[in-house]
């Protein structure tokens, strides 16, 4: 249905929209991550893709993972870093991030700044693969310490 859904401003600076649920990033305990939420902005019935918004609180991070599908990400808010393979780069508002298939990647919010990003994905996609348990333990406590090149 045609609609305009406004950005909601609750004073916290966190992004939310009318009629958009703020969801868990993943089921608790399924993978290491910290302080991250997920919102599905567009999932049109006549499109095979979705546009999702992830928001990571200061100091938080997404799961270190890889998958067959490519990643297409636009940073919408704040700043942080992205790890792609063994490379860690700063990212800021409106940067575009592309991640190749089967490439380890992880997003971190800055210690003093949230990180919000759009992610374009196909509705049908393969499940992420995680590092081994040994590497997983390293990422959950000290996410900067893991070597993604060795993680798979």
């Amino acid at each position: 249905m045609s609609a305009i859904r406004r950005l909601l401003t609750d004073g916290s600076g966190d992004f939310g929209w009318q009629d958009v649920d703020r969801l868990r990033y993943k089921a608790e305990g399924s993978a290491p991550f910290k302080d991250i939420t997920r919102q599905v902005l567009f999932s049109q019935i006549d499109q095979t893709c979705e546009l999702r918004y992830f928001e990571i609180a200061p100091g938080g991070y997404s799961t270190l993972e890889q998958h067959q599908h490519t990643h297409a990400v636009l940073i919408l808010r704040g700043r942080g870093t992205v790890r792609i393979g063994t490379d860690v780069q700063p990212i800021a508002e409106h940067d575009l991030v592309t991640v190749d298939p089967l490439t380890w990647h992880q997003f971190h919010a800055a210690p003093d700044n949230a990180l919000g990003f759009l992610c374009l994905v196909s509705k049908e996609r393969d499940k992420p693969r995680l590092p081994t348990d040994e590497k997983r333990a390293m990422t959950s406590d000290s996410p900067g310490a893991v070597d993604p090149a060795a993680a798979g």
Copy 2:
């Protein structure tokens, strides 16, 4: 290929990105529009959708049109208005706009502000339909004067 493409800042305030071409919105003369450009941000080989960025200079506007595919738009920059059917609403940064199939719609930048928006589309989609020539003449000179309900 994995990459980070940065937002380029040239002092004008217009949005551009590394390795992203600024394209014509449409072929000149094919339809009425004013001061609008198009950039394809993501067109992944393993996805059937694209994420595009349109930027309208102050006072400019997109074509009044309709098509079978739905529209999924996120305002990335500035402010203006969107016409959906017979309704005209103000839009601002980060608003989400959904337009139903076969619904007349048109984006205008504010007179004193650019309007930039992301548009999620399927790579394969139907061509837009335009108002009749009579209505078209009305939109090109006085875009506020057309009655989209009568345009089809």
